[in-house]
């Protein structure tokens, strides 16, 4: 039974991730007065599958001077945590894989491992652009993981639990976004940075570092990084929905639909931002993180604690 569930969830996630790339291309295209993919299938609907096939049969290049094993291992290290975290995400009241007490902590600790994939990919490629990309992402992800962790402490205090189901249940009346607007904003920024999206996409800043840490990758290995990025986007969106937007809760429609709608809104926001904003510089990113976001996170925690102690 559990195995069937795992297969269903993995399959659906893979499909959704593939179509997320399609959605991104279409949305960006329309933002830029283009039409995007149109050739494969009706309105290019089969494009992601064609892309997948292309990447599958493409020549897989391993640079001669690369550290072969680490080079092969890195995309896997990157992709696996991105998918493993879905184990504790409750898609609806009854549809989830595991209900563990430390759900949120589990997500954070597992997704923290993804950074190795990026750092080691940068190192093992034996290319300076990849190395610089790896460094940047290491620094960026470590820092923003901290802010991500700190920003969600507020809602966790309100819920009084790390369990994802209990957190959603705690929002039966009012969503936490009402109580924790600051935490929500901080989480959103940290989440965008954590997934390396514009305006924080420095590790793979095309125009500076060619493609950053995955410059030397091709074929399926490249696809792994690609999938991991989009899977992580979904994880970050799902977590936002669980922590701030009341998870699957909503009137009339079944829980899973509400969950999908809310996650979809977040994903659209990610894409929208990409169509609008330029990119920050590395030192600016770090300054924003440590000098603005970090104190605000601490302030939010302190305020939440005081108000919780005094009034609730």
């Amino acid at each position: 039974m559990v195995l069937v569930k795992i297969i269903i969830i993995l399959g659906v996630i893979l499909l959704v991730v593939a179509y997320l790339t399609y959605l991104e291309r279409k949305v960006i295209a329309h933002l830029q007065v283009r039409i995007g993919p149109m050739r494969v299938g009706w309105h290019g609907l089969l494009q992601p599958i064609a892309d997948g096939l292309k990447l599958l049969v493409k020549e897989d290049i391993i640079p001669e001077k690369a550290d072969k094993w680490v080079f092969i291992l890195s995309p896997i290290i990157c992709l696996v945590p991105a998918f493993v975290v879905y184990a504790v995400i409750p898609f609806s009241q009854h549809f989830y894989l595991a209900n563990i007490n430390i759900g949120i902590l589990y997500i954070i600790s597992i997704s923290a491992l993804g950074v190795y994939g990026i750092v080691l990919a940068g190192w093992s490629s034996n290319s300076k652009y990849a190395l610089l990309g790896g460094f940047r992402s290491a620094a960026q992800m470590i820092s923003y993981e901290i802010f991500l962790g700190f920003s969600i402490i507020g809602p966790l205090m309100l819920a009084g639990s790390l369990n994802t189901l209990k957190i959603v249940e705690a929002q039966s009346g009012v969503w936490f976004i009402i109580y924790q607007p600051l935490a929500f904003a901080l989480y959103l920024i940290a989440g965008i940075a954590e997934t390396n999206r514009i305006p924080f996409d420095l590790p793979e800043a095309e125009t500076e570092l060619v493609a950053g840490f995955h410059t030397e990758y091709s074929g399926m290995k490249f696809a792994f990084f690609f999938l991991a990025e989009y899977a992580n986007m979904m994880v970050v969106s799902s977590m936002a929905v669980i922590l701030f937007l009341g998870g699957w809760k909503g009137p009339f429609l079944p829980g899973i639909v509400w969950f999908a709608i809310k996650v979809g809104a977040f994903l659209f926001l990610f894409i929208w931002l990409r169509g609008t904003l330029p990119r920050y510089r590395y030192d600016q990113l770090m300054r924003i993180g440590w000098k603005i976001m970090f104190p605000l996170c601490l302030l939010n925690i302190a305020l939440t604690g005081i108000i919780y102690y005094l009034f609730l």
Partner: protein, 366 residues
């Protein structure tokens, strides 16, 4: 134990998404900070100056298209004007106006390419596509006039190749009427954007004094606050009959150069408007001998191309072929000052700086 830090040598280009062609930059880095840099050029060197000595004067006009290939009209103009000076040719007024209209439209097209690629380098992809949408209209206009979109080969000694077609006028009017709103669109995405400001303000600064010393010209020098535009300072064609402003910056940073070019697009729109209104009827080509054989002598003549001072120095020995043609390419000189702007900056500033000086490698390497 003493840990030694090593300078990292990063080879940027010649194949790199934001070196705008085949520029190679050697960056000496300490971390991500640039200690020194060395632009290496010549990957697009086609020996155009040598080629000129083997072609007749007329045969060389199409080759000038290939210098700054995104702004072919100004190249034509600078060359043709120098030969006209050498031969003391008269150019009819109508031809002068046609020249001004086309070069100013080309200035807008060139600035649109600059803005699009510059913004894309800094991460704003949408601006790029917006800019190319408008540039497309201008290229269509060029096609209408000359039959070619980029390598136009349109100006002739003593005039232009053909009169503007009748369908040109409504199209260009329509473009001029809608374009200011489009500029406002670009500005809405960038000018007040905090990220854009953070990426461009105080980045790749060059002072006015350094700018002159290093030979900067065009918007790059005006960004540093020098109000010098050859169209005003030493008017050629009919620019002294047209009313326009010269925008300048103060700081000489990437942002100022951006603002100068944005304003220049507006001013160019104004110029085309006026030129269309003032344009007289008449000949489009003056009295020109069948065989172009300038008397022995030499002449230098320059124009304000979209990139800066574009000059031709031609030495004639009285034959049908030029004895020596030297092209004073603004991009070549502007690129020379790049290491000065980069020093102490970060890798991310390199692409902002390259984008902001608006070089075209076809002109740098010749």
């Amino acid at each position: 134990m003493v840990l030694e830090t090593k300078e990292l040598l990063l080879n940027m280009g010649p194949q790199h998404p934001s070196t705008h062609g085949v520029l190679r930059l050697l960056l000496y880095l300490e971390g991500e900070t640039i200690v020194n840099s060395d632009p290496i050029i010549g990957y697009l060197h086609r020996g155009i100056e040598k080629l000129a000595e083997a072609k007749t004067y007329t045969q060389f006009i199409p080759i000038t298209d290939r210098l700054d290939y995104i702004a072919a009209f100004p190249n034509n103009l600078a060359y043709v004007q120098t030969v006209e000076k050498l031969m003391s040719l008269e150019v009819p007024l109508r031809a002068q106006y046609i020249r001004v209209i086309l070069t100013e439209l080309n200035r807008i097209a060139s600035h649109l390419v600059w803005l699009g690629t510059h913004a894309m380098d800094i991460g704003a992809i949408t601006v790029f596509l917006y800019c190319f949408r408008e540039r497309e209209i201008i290229l269509d206009l060029f096609e209408m006039v000359s039959g070619a979109r980029m390598t136009v080969n349109f100006f002739r000694f003593g005039g232009v190749a053909a009169d503007l077609p009748a369908e040109f006028y409504p199209k260009v009017k329509e473009f001029l009427d809608t374009f200011p709103a489009k500029i406002a669109d670009y500005e809405a995405l960038l000018t007040q954007n905090r990220i854009w400001l953070a990426r461009t303000k105080n980045v790749a600064v060059i002072s006015a004094e350094d700018g002159i010393n290093w030979g900067l010209s065009g918007p790059n020098l005006r960004g540093s606050g020098i109000k010098w535009d050859i169209r005003k300072a030493n008017p050629y064609a009919v620019y002294n009959k047209l009313d326009f402003e010269i925008p300048t910056g103060q700081m000489g940073d990437v942002y100022d150069r951006y603002m100068v070019r944005m304003e220049e697009m507006r001013q160019s729109t104004r110029i085309v408007h006026q030129a269309l209104a003032q344009m007289p009827d008449g000949e489009i080509k003056g009295k020109v001998p069948k065989i172009i054989k300038p008397p022995a002598g030499e002449a230098y003549s320059c124009i304000e191309s979209p990139k800066g001072e574009l000059g031709f120095y031609i030495v004639s020995d009285g034959s049908e072929k030029p004895y020596r043609v030297k092209i004073r390419a603004p991009s070549f000189v502007n690129l020379e000052a790049l290491p000065l702007m980069l020093k102490g900056g970060l890798i991310a500033d390199v692409i902002a700086a390259i984008g902001s000086i608006d070089i075209v490698l076809g002109e740098v390497d010749r």
